[in-house]
């Protein structure tokens, strides 16, 4: 079992890093002088909380999985943003550069839905 656990720890680390870097692929278009606001959505108990957040254009929203089950953060169109599977305590972030309402869900548990409103 010890060997299995080490395997798993390594695997989770890779997922964690992938999740952390995912947001970096979408740099904000806002002026560099403006510090980007950040908002965090917690995933726990099969729920995104808050279920709806409103942020300013250019905001980087961070998701952190506090549940003991893996989840994903995937836009309804499955292309705007799509996290890797997030195991417990893994994070994902995405910077919203355009106004609009972004509905998203967990592709493992599609009953988990939420949205980000960008103004």
């Amino acid at each position: 079992m010890d060997r299995n656990k080490r395997y798993l720890a390594g695997a989770m680390l890779v997922v964690g890093m992938a999740g952390a870097f995912a947001g970096a692929t979408s740099p904000p278009n806002g002026t560099p002088a403006q510090a980007a606001a950040s908002d965090e959505v917690k995933i726990d108990n099969f729920t995104f909380a808050p279920g709806e957040i409103t942020v300013a254009k250019g905001t980087t929203v961070k998701w952190v999985n506090r549940d003991d089950i893996p989840h994903t953060v995937v836009s309804d169109d499955k292309s705007t943003f799509k996290s890797k599977p997030l195991d417990t305590d893994d994070k994902f972030s995405y910077t919203f550069t355009k106004e609009g309402t972004y509905s998203y869900f967990c592709s493992i548990h599609p009953k988990m839905t939420a949205k980000v409103v960008v103004k």
Binding site: D68, K84, F105
Partner: protein, 321 residues
């Protein structure tokens, strides 16, 4: 053997198709009950009485075991040793009075679709006396890579998202994949292509052919609020109306549940990894944390016997403890 309060006896009438009778037998693993259908009669017994059963009554011309939701890679307090409990399930299968000819794994083999998780399960299942293992994917097996890793390992003989059929001793088995391309807010989904294939697959079969459908997410509405159902399962079952005996085996909900409706008997198997709460009995379907000494009594395997000529399956769910 005297009838117990929780024993249900059901006459299948042998007409198979338009019988209006309805039986719903919810056999929670935690409350300890299991159902046996044999010769067209379904009986439900308390699991704690499994030792009292006469193994000769469980014999048929075909037997197989179902395992489900091994979730290899899960390591949280509900069960930090899912490899150990899967091994225990294999030991239990190897100890069955009637050795099963093959195993069905109804998905969530892995927890995060990682190669080492799949490897681990394959390695543990190699210790099973039955060498053939038939898989269908769970949503955990296709996460992150749209099923690439799963299909490379277990999809060589399957079509599309992992569906296929095979015959064993006159029984037609159909493995369905209902975990791909799930939509926001939706349930499990088979999709048009798979439904079309299913219709064609069963069309040439005679109505007396016993059918076993197996898929990960239940093909009946267990609890849609938690996603425990498949949006287009009614269409799939519609193609099976002509058959006298249809058995549906699922996993996903980590507990044993059974139901008979018309010609179809539905069963969900317990997980070998961790139990989940009864529908609606918790805020979410997350893993149930139970005392270590209770855990194995909530995990299990399903042993299925087919009695040729009687067109019925006898299913026995047993706990690991």
């Amino acid at each position: 053997m005297t009838r117990q309060k929780d024993e249900i006896q059901f006459d299948h009438n042998h007409d198979g198709i338009d019988r209006r009778g309805f039986l719903k037998c919810m056999a929670w693993a935690g409350t300890g009950a299991f159902c046996v259908m044999q010769g067209g009669v379904l009986k439900s017994y308390s699991l704690s009485r499994i030792a009292e059963l006469d193994p000769s009554k469980m014999k048929g011309e075909l037997s197989f075991a179902q395992i489900s939701d091994s979730n290899m890679g899960f390591n949280k307090p509900a069960n930090p040793d899912v490899a150990g409990t899967l091994k225990a399930a294999v030991d239990k299968i190897n100890a069955l009075a009637t050795p099963p000819e093959f195993l069905l794994h109804t998905g969530d083999i892995s927890h995060l679709a990682k190669p080492e998780e799949f490897d681990n399960v394959e390695q543990i299942l190699r210790s099973a006396a039955a060498k053939d293992v038939f898989y269908v994917p769970g949503e955990h097996d296709v996460v992150g890579d749209d099923g690439k890793e799963y299909l490379e390992r277990h999809g060589k003989k399957s079509k599309g998202a992992g569906w296929y059929s095979f015959d064993k001793k006159g029984v037609h088995f159909v493995g369905l994949s209902n975990v791909m391309n799930l939509k926001a807010g939706g349930l499990g989904s088979l999709g048009a292509e798979q439904l079309e294939w299913l219709e064609d697959d069963v069309k040439p079969l005679s109505a007396s052919t016993p059918i076993v459908l197996f898929a990960h997410i239940p093909l009946w509405s267990v609890y849609p609020q938690w996603g425990w159902g498949t949006e287009d399962s009614a269409q799939a079952l519609g193609y099976l109306k002509k058959f006298g005996s249809v058995t549906v085996l699922n996993g996903h909900i980590h507990q044993t549940m059974q139901k008979v409706e018309g010609n179809v008997t539905f069963h969900t198997a317990a997980s070998t990894a961790f139990p989940q709460p009864e529908p609606g009995k918790a805020d979410s379907p997350g893993p149930m944390k139970v005392p270590a000494e209770q855990l194995r009594s909530l995990l299990g395997i399903t042993d299925v016997n087919f009695v040729q000529g009687k067109e019925a399956l006898a299913i026995v769910d047993s706990k690991l403890a």
